[in-house]
C-alpha cells in the first residue's frame, strides 16, 4: 500500500511548491466554464471573452503592479465537476476570485464552497433567480435573471408580435425550465394562453416529434429556451418541416455561432439577450473590433459575459488596493463598471442592474435591435 502512496507525495509536493513560487508574481483568477459537453460552444466563447479582457488588462500593466493570470477549469456544466474544479482552484492554485460556473445549478453548487473558503464568485451567465436569493455574500451576478428578462420583454412580445396562443419549449435543465416558467408567467398575466409546454434533453438531435406537436397545437408563437447546439438544430428542423410559427428565444440566439449554424433558417427569429454585437453603446464598438480581430467572428452574449466578469474583478482588485478577500468583496459591492452592454452596479444581494438588454430580430444573419430595455435595480 505504501508503495502506491509514495509517488503522489512527490507529485503533490512539486505541484504545491511550483504554485508557491509563482504566487508572488501574478494575481490568479479562476475560471470555471463548460469546455466539453453540449454547452461547450458557449463556455468556450465565454473563455474567449475572458482572455481578451485579460490581455487588455495586462497590456495596461496589470493590476496592483502585477500581471493577472487566468486559471481555467472545465466545469462541464455539472455541479459535481464544478465543485471539484473550485476546490482545486482554491486549494492548489490559490486564486483570489472565481468567474463561473455557467449553468445555474453548477454555480449553485459552487456557492457554498466559496462561502466556506471565503472568496468572491462572479457569474456573467447564470440566470436562475434563486442564486441571489440565497443570501450568500460572496456571490455576484453580472447579468440578468430569467425573471427580469421576462418582465422586460413580455409586453413587447404581446403587443408587437401579437402573441396570443403561445407554445413553450425548453431544454430540460434549470435554464430551460426557469426561462419557460418566467415567460409563461408574464405572458399569461398579460392574457396569452399556453397551448403547449414541452422540454427536451441536452443533445437531442431529432425534434420532429416535438415540432409536429407544435404544428398541431395551433400556436401563433413559440418561446424557446435553448443554447446554441440544441437551438440551432431545432430551428433548422423547423424550417425543414415548413413551419412558419413565429419564434423567439432566450439563450445563445444572437451569437455568431448560432447564426452561422442555422443559416437561412434563422431569418425572422426574435431573441431576448443581454448583449448583441449590434448594440450601440460607446464601449461596444471597440469591443467588437478587438474581439473580431482576435477570433475572426463577432462576439456574442457569452463573450461579453466573460469579458465583463474579468474586467469587473480586475477593477475591484484595483479599487480594493489588495487581494484580501474581505476587501475585495467590499470593493466588488461598490462596482461601477461600464461594459459593452451598459453600466453595471451591484445591489445588496449581488444582483447587477443598470445594463441594457435587447430584443433582436435576426434579419439576413444580423441581429438587428428591435427594442432595448434597461434592467432596473
Amino acid at each position: 500500500m505504501s508503495i502506491v502512496k509514495s509517488w503522489p507525495v512527490g507529485v503533490l509536493g512539486l505541484a504545491l511548491a511550483s504554485v508557491g513560487v509563482h504566487a508572488q508574481e501574478t494575481i490568479k483568477i479562476g475560471v470555471i466554464q463548460p469546455l466539453t459537453g453540449s454547452v461547450a460552444y458557449n463556455g468556450t466563447t465565454d473563455v474567449n471573452g475572458s482572455k481578451l479582457a485579460l490581455d487588455e488588462i495586462n497590456a495596461k500593466g496589470g493590476v496592483l503592479g502585477k500581471k493577472v493570470e487566468l486559471v481555467i477549469e472545465d466545469g462541464q456544466c455539472r455541479p459535481a465537476n464544478s465543485v471539484s474544479a473550485a476546490e482545486k482552484l482554491i486549494q492548489r492554485d490559490k486564486v483570489v476570485a472565481i468567474s463561473g460556473a455557467f449553468c445555474s445549478s453548477s454555480t449553485l453548487a459552487v456557492m457554498p464552497v466559496v462561502a466556506n473558503y471565503k472568496l468572491p464568485l462572479i457569474t456573467g451567465v447564470s440566470s436562475s433567480a434563486e442564486l441571489t436569493e440565497k443570501g450568500n455574500p460572496w456571490f455576484f451576478r453580472a447579468t440578468e435573471t430569467d425573471a427580469l428578462l421576462a418582465k422586460a420583454f413580455s409586453k413587447i412580445l404581446y403587443d408587437q408580435l401579437k402573441l396570443r396562443k403561445v407554445a413553450y419549449i425548453g431544454v430540460n435543465d434549470d435554464f430551460g425550465r426557469g426561462g419557460v416558467a418566467e415567460f409563461e408567467k408574464q405572458m399569461t398575466a398579460l392574457g396569452a394562453t399556453t397551448v403547449m409546454k414541452e422540454y427536451f434533453e441536452h443533445g437531442t438531435s431529432d425534434f420532429y416529434t416535438l415540432l409536429t406537436k407544435l404544428k398541431s397545437s395551433g400556436a401563433d408563437g413559440v418561446f424557446v429556451a435553448a443554447e446554441t447546439q440544441d437551438g440551432s438544430i431545432l430551428v433548422k428542423q423547423k424550417a425543414e418541416l415548413g413551419l412558419t410559427t413565429k419564434m423567439f428565444g432566450v439563450g445563445s440566439w444572437a451569437t455568431p455561432d448560432f447564426i452561422k449554424l442555422t443559416g437561412e433558417a434563422s431569418e425572422g427569429i426574435y431573441a431576448a439577450v443581454p448583449y448583441a454585437s449590434t448594440m450601440t453603446t460607446p464601449k461596444n464598438k471597440a469591443f467588437v473590433t478587438a474581439y473580431s480581430a482576435r477570433y475572426n467572428e463577432a462576439p456574442g452574449k457569452y463573450s461579453a459575459a466573460g469579458y465583463n466578469a474579468i474586467n469587473i474583478l480586475a477593477e475591484a482588485i484595483a479599487r480594493a488596493g489588495s487581494t484580501d478577500p474581505e476587501k475585495l468583496r467590499d470593493a466588488l459591492g461598490r462596482t461601477d463598471y461600464e461594459g459593452p452592454n451598459g453600466h453595471f452596479q451591484f445591489d445588496s444581494k449581488g444582483q447587477a442592474s443598470g445594463f441594457s438588454v435587447v430584443l433582436v430580430q435576426l434579419l439576413k444573419g444580423v441581429p438587428t435591435v428591435a427594442a432595448t430595455s434597461t434592467i432596473e435595480r
Partner: protein, 290 residues
C-alpha cells in the same frame, strides 16, 4: 388524423435510420457472438470522417461514402486482428471489457482531435420540405431512407450470395468444422468485424448529413442500437429492420401524444419487457450453448 400521419411518417423515417445504425451491431453479434460496445464510436468516426472530407476537403458525397466505408472496414479488420483476436477464446467478458475500453478511447481521442462542436456532413440533397398531403418530409430524408434500404439489401446479398458470406455463415455455425473445410477463420472474423465497422461508419456519415457528426454521441447511438438489436433479435437482419421500425414508431407516438420527457425510456422499457418474455428477440434463432 394529420397528427397521426405525420407522427407515423416521422417514426418510419427515424425507424429506418435506427435499423441502419444497428445493422453492424447485429451482424457482428450474429456472426461472431461479440457485443461490440464500441459500435457507437465507430459510427462517430464515420460521421467525423465524412464531415472532414465533405466539408473541409470538399469531396463529393458518394465518393466520401466509399472512402468512409473502406477506411472503417480496414480499421475494423485491424481492430479485430490486433485486439479482439487475442482474447477470442477467453469467453464473453474480456471482449466486452475490451470493446468498452476501445469505446472510451475512441470517444475521447475524437474529442481531443475534433473538439466537442457538432458538425454536419455536407449533403447534396436539399433540406426543403416536400409535402405529401398533410405529411411533410424533406428530400434529403427520403433519399437517405432509399440509400439505407439499398445498403441493407447489399449487405444481405453479400452474406447470402457470395463466397465470403458463405464462409462467414459457416464459421458462425461451427468454427471448427469451417476450419477443417479450409476456411481461414481468423480472416473471416476480421472481415466480419470489418463489415460491422463499415456499416456503423456508413450510418454515421449518412445520418451525419441530416443530424450531427459529433464526438460525444457515441453512447447514445450504442444504446439505441442495443435496443433495436435486442428487440429484433441479435444476429437477425429482419430483426434489425423490424426492431428499428418498432422503436422509431413507438418513440414518435409516445413523444407526440404523451410527453417528450420520457421518450427514451420507451426503448428501455421495451427491452426489459422483451428480455423477460422473449430473450432472443422477435426473430432470434439460436439456442443457449453450455
Amino acid at each position: 388524423m394529420d397528427l397521426f400521419l405525420q407522427l407515423l411518417a416521422n417514426g418510419l423515417v427515424i425507424g429506418t435510420f435506427y435499423a441502419l445504425s444497428a445493422l453492424g451491431l447485429t451482424l457482428v453479434f450474429g456472426l461472431m457472438r461479440v457485443v461490440n460496445f464500441a459500435h457507437g464510436e465507430l459510427y462517430v468516426v464515420g460521421g467525423l470522417l465524412g464531415w472532414s472530407l465533405t466539408d473541409l476537403v470538399g469531396l463529393n458525397f458518394f465518393l466520401t461514402l466509399a472512402v468512409v466505408i473502406f477506411s472503417l472496414a480496414v480499421g475494423g479488420y485491424l481492430i479485430d486482428r490486433l485486439l479482439m483476436a487475442r482474447v477470442r477464446g477467453q469467453g464473453e467478458e474480456p471482449t466486452i471489457l475490451l470493446t468498452i475500453g476501445l469505446s472510451i478511447f475512441l470517444t475521447n481521442t475524437a474529442l481531443l482531435i475534433v473538439g466537442t462542436a457538432p458538425e454536419r456532413v455536407v449533403s447534396p440533397f436539399a433540406n426543403k420540405p416536400l409535402f405529401f398531403g398533410p405529411v411533410v418530409i424533406t428530400q434529403s430524408r427520403l433519399v437517405l431512407v432509399a440509400i439505407s434500404a439499398a445498403l441493407i439489401l447489399a449487405v444481405h446479398l453479400l452474406i447470402q450470395r457470395t463466397t465470403l458470406g458463405r464462409s462467414m455463415r459457416a464459421t458462425f455455425q461451427d468454427s471448427m468444422a469451417a476450419q477443417l473445410s479450409g476456411i481461414r477463420t481468423a480472416q473471416v472474423y476480421g472481415f466480419t468485424f470489418a463489415l460491422g465497422a463499415a456499416l456503423a461508419g456508413a450510418a454515421g456519415m449518412l445520418l451525419g448529413s441530416i443530424y450531427v457528426a459529433q464526438a460525444t454521441i457515441g453512447d447514445v447511438v450504442s444504446l439505441k442500437a442495443f435496443v433495436v438489436v435486442i428487440l429484433g433479435g441479435m444476429g437477425s437482419f429482419a430483426g434489425a429492420i423490424v426492431g428499428g421500425l418498432i422503436l422509431g414508431i413507438s418513440e414518435a407516438f409516445w413523444g407526440g401524444y404523451m410527453s417528450s420527457g420520457y421518450v427514451d425510456a420507451i426503448g428501455f422499457g421495451l427491452v426489459i419487457a422483451m428480455l423477460l418474455v422473449r430473450p432472443y428477440g422477435l426473430f432470434g434463432k439460436h439456442a443457449e450453448r453450455a
